[in-house]
């Protein structure tokens, strides 16, 4: 098993004919993901990367039975793409796009919730269930299937941890990059809950960073509801206050969102917090072998 995406995923790519969309569609197809449709308004009837292109998401869903969508359109158009996807009945939408105006994102966020759909991202690397489906922009070949679930706010930092897991011969059930924006659809707690219920996942690595209080809230959830071991890593111990570290959400502001607070909360919840990314992978590997 795995969570959110697997061999039954029928993927639709919104923005398939754009530069990023085309590149990553090729990569996802190569990985073995079932990419069944693409959407670019005005390009209906064409093919891209061997995949049929439609003018609208509704038509693509009707004709191909797509059940997950990944969005590559530029930020200003991404909220529209999210709303189009959920209006067409797509239950799970992964938004890679960044630079989305916050007001537009807030409206899209609430609309997705009202429609009962799930959003991952925006400004995220997507997710991968190794050996089954890659719905994102991560390098597929560093992953192997196995028992560790990974959830992270970061992209390359996740690859770092995953490559060390793989190096230890420890595979991953699903690796989920929830994104570095402050307003995101799927959060740590959502993913932790799914990993707890997933029979294949035996341990979880949670990679957080400074800013906001999501890690603290996740720690409370872990203490109450997680029976599986969780290993943590928090980036940004050396980040100065009031400066955004690249991600819009990565800022220590008014004393809120420090690495110390997050590490303390996780430790209090029984989470082993690593000092180095590699150590997080080693700790998770130990947990699996115990």
């Amino acid at each position: 098993m795995s969570i959110l995406v697997d061999e039954n995923t029928r993927l639709l790519v919104q923005g398939i004919t754009g530069r990023e969309g085309t590149f990553h569609t090729e990569q996802m197809v190569q990985y073995g993901t079932q990419v069944v449709a693409g959407v670019t308004p005005g390009r209906g009837g064409q093919k891209a990367c061997g995949v049929p292109v439609f003018n609208t998401v509704a038509q693509a869903v009707r004709e191909t039975g797509a059940n997950v969508s990944i969005i590559f359109v530029p930020g200003p158009f991404a909220p529209d793409a999210i709303i189009e996807a959920v209006d067409a009945g797509i239950p799970f939408v992964v938004c890679i796009s960044e630079h989305i105006p916050v007001q537009d994102m807030l409206r899209a966020y609430h609309y997705v919730n009202i429609k009962g759909a799930r959003l991952q991202g925006p400004n995220c690397p997507g997710l991968i269930s190794p050996g089954k489906a890659k719905v994102g922009i991560m390098a597929g070949d560093i992953h192997i299937p196995g028992p560790v679930g990974v959830v992270s706010r970061s992209g390359t930092l996740t690859y770092e941890v995953v490559s060390h897991l793989t190096g230890q011969g420890v595979g991953q059930s699903t690796v989920v990059g929830i994104g570095g924006d402050p307003v995101i659809g799927t959060g740590f707690i959502d993913v932790l809950r799914m990993f707890e219920q997933d029979p294949e996942t035996e341990a979880v690595v949670m990679i957080g960073e400074i800013g906001g209080t999501d890690e603290e809230e996740a720690a409370a959830f872990i203490q109450k509801h997680m029976t599986k071991p969780v290993v943590g890593f928090i980036a940004g111990r050396t980040a100065p206050p009031e400066k955004r570290m690249g991600h819009a959400g990565a800022i220590v502001s008014g004393g809120i969102g420090t690495a110390e607070s997050k590490i303390a909360a996780l430790q209090a919840a029984g989470v082993d917090v690593a000092d180095f990314p590699r150590e997080a992978a080693l700790l998770a590997a130990e947990r699996i072998l115990l």
Binding site: V102, Q103, G155, T156, A250, G254, R278
Partner: protein
């Protein structure tokens, strides 16, 4: 992943110009860049004026950047004092002269795009005139909040509720609610992240006036507000951060000795942390972004080496979309044109890592295998 969102600050006088269009009660004011202009402005406003430094950093009052002047000549004197003053590293180039008002009560009123509650949050407090962060720390119970659902929009009862919560006199509650509505509209129309009036005052003769105003704009929405985008004040940006922004790099200057070039924000932070845990100190945060090309690497190196504190540079690249050979080529092609030579430690793994390492080897640079080994090595060569 190029430049991640930040908000853009604008000056008080610019914020007031925007808000005046929403019918907010703002005392008449004019901007001056010389004492003579200040004298003329004070004369045309009439009566006692406040001379206020226009800088984008907080704490200008404590720094002596806000002064009262009873006559036009005194306004010129006070302007002469303030213009050229250094406030937290920023040289004051402009002052705002505003009609002084007799203050009976100071109130805080702010509207923010609140990412925690996923709503537009309106905050009000009877403790105005001080930094709201301070009130939040000392007496959080004195801050009252209402949340505007993005799909429902603002409802007038919310402004009335705040008026009652903070004890606005009944005869002014309607006017207060009108101001709240105007601020929410201003936030929506201008894609602001924050619209703040601090203080909003009730004058001795029972009127409401907006004495100070602050607006932060959402960088990601500036593409649809060309007029607002032009308000960016380049004089107040850290020069290195400005150069980085123009080069499409996400950069924050720190005060250590080891420059860092990393792809990805999370990995960049983890790299800084690893340097620290290895006994060194990072000179910057820098994310060269996904798919970083040789040109970005060159720009990154130049910006980092402009900082005289930097004694060594660490590259930490985890190739995915970013190709290691491309980054290696960038490093090698930047070398001859660099302003000075410092030791460099390069850690390259992932897509095309062998080609990348070969390019480095030919140029006499050695690649480290792991983040920790690379950090220890760079701390050693930096002599920290």
């Amino acid at each position: 992943m190029v430049w991640s969102p930040l908000f853009m600050k604008i000056h008080e006088f610019q914020a007031k110009e925007i808000l005046a269009a929403y019918g907010l009660p703002i005392p008449p004011g004019q901007v001056a860049t010389t004492p003579d202009e200040a004298r003329a402005a004070a004369a045309s406003i009439g009566g006692t004026v406040v001379v206020k430094a226009q800088v984008l950093v907080g704490g200008r009052g404590k720094a002596g950047g806000v002064k009262l002047a009873a006559t036009p000549d005194e306004a010129a004197e006070k302007a002469a004092d303030i213009l050229g003053m250094n406030i937290k590293g920023i040289t004051v180039q402009r002052v705002l002269l505003a009609q002084a008002v007799d203050i009976a009560t100071e109130i805080y009123l702010g509207v923010i795009l609140d990412r925690t509650s996923k709503a537009i949050t309106i905050m009000a407090s009877a403790e105005g005139g001080v930094e709201i962060e301070e009130v939040a720390r000392e007496t959080p119970e004195k801050i009252h909040r209402v949340h505007v659902h993005p799909l429902a929009g603002y409802a007038d009862y919310q402004g009335r509720q705040l008026a009652f919560d903070i004890g606005i006199p009944p005869d002014l509650s309607r006017e207060f609610a009108r101001i709240v509505r105007a601020l929410v509209l201003a936030l929506n129309d201008n894609d602001a992240e924050l619209v703040e009036i601090n203080p909003l005052v009730i004058t001795e003769d029972g009127a409401i006036q907006c004495i100070d105003a602050k607006i932060n704009l959402d960088d990601n929405a500036l593409f649809r507000h060309k007029d607002l985008a032009e308000l960016r004040d380049h004089d107040e940006e850290e020069p290195a951060e400005q150069a980085a922004r123009e080069a499409g790099l996400s950069f924050v200057k720190l005060d250590g000795t080891i420059g860092c070039v990393v792809n990805g924000a999370g990995l960049a932070m983890a790299t800084m942390d690893t340097i620290k845990l290895s006994g060194g100190s990072p000179a910057n945060f820098l994310d060269i972004g996904g798919g970083a090309r040789a040109e970005s690497v060159e720009n990154a190196l130049r910006i980092i080496l402009d900082d005289a504190n930097v004694r060594a540079v660490l590259f930490n690249i985890f190739g995915g979309i970013t190709r290691c050979d491309e980054v290696a080529r960038g490093i090698v092609s930047a070398l001859p044109s660099l302003s000075r030579q410092v030791p460099m430690v390069v850690r390259l793994v992932g897509t095309n890592q062998d080609e990348g390492r070969e390019i480095l080897r030919e140029a006499g640079l050695v690649a480290a295998d792991t983040m920790q080994a690379a950090s220890q090595e760079v701390v050693k060569v930096a002599g920290a």
